[in-house]
Symmetry: C2
Subunit: 426 residues, 2 copies
């Protein structure tokens, strides 16, 4: 009746929030990380089943993008850069092996199946990048993000994302018909690495005094909004420089990690995350087409890609041979591919480098690696708890839960009795 | 470089949040409600000045729509329906006079200026509906929302919105060439009124037990998300039934007002509001084209519409002659037109019922009424504080501040010591 209604967005968001919350709680009841419930909720809401949530819709895509920005900002806020730097060598090893092994295996399988070089390269590339959002959230759901292994995975996933962007720009050139150029590769790599280095150095110099200033003039949640604004700014700068928005959001969190204002910024971000983050996971789930499972050839190739996708990342977990630690846990945590793999597949399909069948095969690999990781990790962590070789590790899970949102709402809003609120009369 | 970046949305939101916060704080320093700073920030970010914020952009429109949904949900949460019912007669009087007087005056002026009937009707209609968001937020900034006068304004603005939707559907029919039909008017009116009545009755029966249940199974902010989901659901149902989303959001808040879970739902909503609500106000501001001020004829007609727009609503404040109270405050609080007036103007322009000049005149009226109200009200409230005739009214402003966000971040997160958080080890 009223032609000026904006859209059905309220209805879509209602369905999304209700379904992710419900299935997230159900997953927890079943001993699974709640992220698995949110992904499944997305699959159900997506076009495969109900057709309510369209992940290609412009508004949903942007809300999901804000969701992954908020998520990576939260993860960054909980990340002490020194603890990642301490495991930097191991993270680098895991990242490099985790890109090389799956790429070579995936490429090899496609060539062995008689595909030509270009589709084989795209399929191999889709196997390279771990989904940092899904990895970190799962580790956090299981209280493992702040263990040495969790920090290695986090570091490797960040490096991996930078490498993934380099590969993406190279593959985009290849499918577009450009020849491979060393200078393009070097430039893409230096932008990714340079952005993080520059952001951390300049950020640590100029940002803490700025937030100290904001803290003094504060009124009405200014600090929370300032933190989020900073994350949005770095996200955009990262994308503008040719890196990924999530790298910027993560860097913003890392820079604010050591400020005394962090707890309040964290609280504000967590509240926003409870709304935005499920949109991201549901959108990842909704991008999955269950119909592809009926395509036998796609299912066969997809299964093979899935196997090398899992095996390649698990092997990568053992790459830092010089460290002691739970290498199987590292490897499994690196398995989920998520949105980056889908971006490769969509690019390949759009440029006709991939047939619809091969596209579906990659989608099957993405779905499989994403959905198998949380239960596998949960199983691994639980079975470890019953063995003795890891008992020197104390029970963690406190602060991690802030990221995952698995704690009581009230618990994340500590006492306000510290004052400073001259303005209220209640 | 990366063709898969979603958009410049992070940069736009960064600019929006930073500018609204900065100018909001500046407005407060100058003794003005912060909403005036947010509106001015929107004007500056809009195409008139910087061209960063495009309020017609699909994503921005949807985020702004979410902003006004969150805002009206917050206002509803603070609204005791009984205190509005107590002033129901007065609110009805203000609403009816506030629609009729500006419409007749606006129509008359346009006819007197030699315009034909259709554009005169559109211009008159654009003068009718008060912007409930701007009114309620301004009253709340000034600590006046919970006074009897504040409740009358809130009630009148809700009725006004229903009436506005009726007029909108009638005018949409007229500019579309349909003849005026009594049955269409009656049906539009009954849908608007019927929706609220039905929502309140059914909601009060079924919603509290449901939220009691959620409270028991609660984990991780479920209550906050459940409240927001309910607001989104009613928003969509309202729009679906032919009423406005904001009516649904307001009704959802009113229904949850009496539940014991309200404080926690409120806290979650306030956190989201700090992000979403400024997007709405900035988008309203950005829809203003300062360039129209250079068009002399538009400026002349716009000034006349502005004068009758202000005078008509102030007169409406005196319509409930049988009550005692600050009638001037009621009238001034009803003055801002905001987004509804712009919707009329855009509809008129799109259907060629309005010339660009008359469109600009209406835009000037909207800008003027929106920007003049907060400082006028602030002046009135301050001058009242120095006179004695109103001293029986105690200093309010406690709970209202939750809506306006003018209190310290920490202060809105009361003690978590009440327990229930078995899940945290920090």
């Amino acid at each position: 009746m009223n032609q000026y209604d904006v859209s059905h967005l309220p209805a879509i968001l209602f369905a999304l929030l209700a379904a992710t919350k419900l299935l997230g709680l159900l997953a927890q009841r079943l001993g699974q990380p709640s992220v698995v419930g949110e992904l499944v909720a997305g699959v159900i809401l997506g076009k495969s089943v109900l057709g309510i949530l369209d992940p290609t819709d412009l508004v949903i895509r942007n809300l999901a993008e804000l969701g992954v920005i908020v998520l990576l900002f939260e993860i960054g806020l909980h990340t002490d850069i020194r603890s990642i730097a301490r495991v930097g060598g191991a993270a680098m090893g895991v990242a490099i092996a985790g890109v090389a092994v799956p790429f070579v295996l995936g490429y090899g399988i496609c060539i062995a199946l008689g595909l030509s070089a270009l589709p084989a390269i795209v399929a191999g590339a889709a196997l390279t990048a771990t989904s940092i959002g899904i990895s970190a959230r799962t580790l956090s759901d299981l209280g493992q993000l702040r263990t040495p292994e969790g920090q290695i995975v986090l570091g490797a996933a960040v490096i991996d994302d930078v490498v993934g962007l380099v590969i993406l720009s190279v593959v985009a050139g290849l499918v577009g018909g450009t020849a491979l150029s060393i200078s393009a590769v070097v430039s893409a790599a230096s932008i990714g690495i340079g952005f993080i280095a520059l952001a951390l150095v300049l950020g640590n110099l100029f940002v803490p005094p700025f937030f100290r200033f904001i803290d003094r003039v504060e009124a009405s949640g200014t600090l929370g909004i300032a933190g989020l604004s900073f994350a949005l700014l770095l996200s955009w700068l990262a994308a503008f420089a040719g890196s990924a928005t999530i790298i910027g959001a993560f860097a913003a969190g890392v820079i604010l990690h050591n400020t005394p204002q962090r707890p309040r910024i964290e609280r504000a971000t967590t509240s926003l995350g409870l709304f935005f983050v499920p949109i991201f996971f549901a959108a990842v789930g909704a991008a999955v087409e269950l119909g592809t499972l009926a395509n036998r050839q796609a299912l066969a190739i997809g299964s093979m890609l899935f196997v090398v996708g899992v095996a390649g990342k698990i092997a990568a977990g053992y790459a830092p041979f010089w460290i002691s630690g739970r290498k199987l846990l590292i490897g499994i945590a690196m398995v989920p591919r998520g949105e980056v793999g889908l971006i490769f597949a969509q690019m390949g399909l759009a440029t006709a480098a991939l047939t619809p069948g091969l596209f579906s095969a990659i989608a099957i690999m993405v779905l499989g690696t994403t959905l198998i990781t949380p239960p596998l990790l949960a199983y691994l962590v639980r079975s470890e708890a019953h063995t003795s070789d890891d008992l020197e590790r104390p029970g963690e899970g406190g602060i991690d839960d802030l990221v995952s949102g698995t704690i009581e709402w009230k618990a994340i809003h500590p006492s306000a009795s510290q004052g400073e609120s001259g303005d209220t009369s209640t």
